[in-house]
């Protein structure tokens, strides 16, 4: 579904990604772990072109992101993204946050968009919050709205950029629950996370990134219980 070949990304003279190869299959949940500054987020952001690709290629569903003729907006509408800081639209109600994409990008009618959005808000357990503004929500609720907003575009794949890192510990559970439901439904997911519990339980595969490359990858059991690379061992020993 997603194939990444020799992906390089530089910011000015600083090379953040130094040649990443990865493949994400349909319905697979891939968790990306690694120390901060390892390029995990940048890698994720390249997948929906929030960062321009310096060299290499990413192919999603047969479409190359480096093809100059690519319709970026169409591509992005098929790749859902959930941000660390939620990035909800504060001037719109929760419902409007979710309906905006379906209305303006998918050209759904008002009724269709609202029905879809209310369904999705129900799914993340926030039906009763449809008509309030994001400002009055807790972090966990905000993040679940953000998940509903991304799902409203019926994406082929969902990208999560440290979705629980900005949350109070007691709010992390609800968001992880929503993500687990999504994974069980067969959503293809790439999750940059520090939640090792989630990676172990839900991940089909774990990528350990450090210094701009994928140092080690494999099923969670292998990575967590029997890491091969010394950097992986060192990282895991620090956090587990």
């Amino acid at each position: 579904m997603i194939k990444v070949t020799d992906l390089h990304k530089s910011f000015g003279k600083v090379e953040v990604l130094k040649g990443i190869d990865a493949e994400i299959k349909e319905k697979e949940v891939v968790c990306v772990i690694g120390p901060s500054g390892s390029g995990k987020s940048t890698f994720l952001r390249c997948i929906n072109l929030l960062e321009e690709i310096t060299a290499g290629d990413i192919v999603i569903d047969g479409e190359s992101l480096t093809d100059p003729k690519i319709d970026i907006n169409k591509l992005r509408s098929q790749v859902g993204m959930v941000f660390q800081h939620f990035n909800l639209f504060p001037h719109m109600t929760v419902l409007k946050n979710v309906t905006l994409g379906p209305l303006k990008v998918k050209d759904l009618s008002n009724e269709e968009a609202e029905k879809l959005s209310l369904d999705l808000l129900g799914k993340v357990g926030l039906s009763d919050k449809a008509h309030v503004y994001p400002g009055s929500l807790s972090g966990g609720q905000k993040q679940r709205v953000a998940i509903a907003r991304a799902l409203a575009m019926s994406p082929k794949v969902m990208l999560f950029d440290e979705p629980t890192s900005a949350l109070d510990p007691e709010l992390v559970g609800d968001v992880l629950e929503a993500m687990k439901d999504l994974a069980k439904e067969g959503m293809t997911m790439v999750v940059v996370t520090h939640e090792m519990g989630f990676a172990r339980e839900m991940g089909d595969r774990v990528l350990f990134m450090d210094e701009g490359v994928v140092m080690e990858e494999g099923p969670p059991e292998n990575i967590f219980d029997n890491p091969q690379h010394p950097r992986t061992q060192e990282f895991l020993s620090k956090i587990l």
């Binding site: 907006n73 992005r76 993204m81 990035n87 905006l100 990008v105």
Partner: protein, 223 residues
């Protein structure tokens, strides 16, 4: 001196200047509102141009803004009304020249307000908009602009008040706004004290309520 003091209470000028103030203020307000309205359009265009990645667009906007901000509005009005009309053979009337001068002048300051307002919106908002498939124009229109506009309201209100006061310099191009009319009144009556006090009040009667309203809006918007 004593004569002057009693004059303060008995002066006929209070009453006599009133029709001039009413007539002059009307024109002052027309020039201000129309000028600031077009200034807002100019300012929005050039403010967004200042955020453009294109060096040419950015450059044009910067030149406009710095030219206007670097010269006095009096000189701009003289230039427009006398120099431009002479050179290009276009004859503006004073009203048109005044409106254009306010629009161009306020436009430059508003451009900076717009740029600041848009820049103050978190980058994550643009990214979130783009990530659901909105184009950059759509994201600007539905997400960035409404939030930025809210933050622009207080400085826009200030600019309105500044522009209102700026219209007084159009007396030099014989635009019959309130300052011009009052100067004429003084030159015929020969008595400056009370008429100019009345002129001050003429401005204050607009600017003070405007400032109060502005402060209320500011508090309501919580910016």
């Amino acid at each position: 001196m004593i004569e002057n003091l009693t004059e303060i209470f008995t002066s006929p000028h209070y009453r006599n200047t009133l029709p001039f103030i009413v007539r002059g203020l009307q024109l002052t307000l027309i020039v201000t509102f129309t000028g600031v309205f077009f200034g807002f359009i100019l300012g929005s265009i050039f403010g967004l141009a200042r955020l453009s990645k294109s060096k040419i667009i950015y450059g044009i906007a910067t030149v406009y803004i710095e030219l206007v901000r670097g010269t006095p509005i009096l000189v701009q009005a003289l230039f427009l009304y006398f120099a431009v009309s002479d050179f290009f053979g276009i004859n503006f009337d004073a009203l048109t020249a005044g409106i254009i001068a306010i629009a161009i002048n306020a436009g430059a300051y508003i451009a900076e307000i717009v740029r600041g307002g848009v820049e103050s919106i978190d980058k994550g908002q643009m990214e979130a908009g783009r990530s659901i498939g909105l184009s950059s124009t759509q994201t600007m229109r539905y997400i960035i602009w409404p939030q930025a506009f809210k933050r622009m309201i207080p400085p826009l209100g200030n600019q309105f008040i500044i522009s209102l006061k700026d219209t007084s310099i159009f007396a030099v191009i014989s635009l019959g706004e309130v300052t011009y009319l009052m100067r004429q009144y003084v030159s015929t009556s020969g008595d400056p004290f009370i008429p100019y006090i009345m002129l001050c009040f003429a401005y204050l009667i607009i600017t003070v309520p405007a400032m109060i309203i502005l402060r209320r809006i500011e508090r309501r918007l919580d910016v």
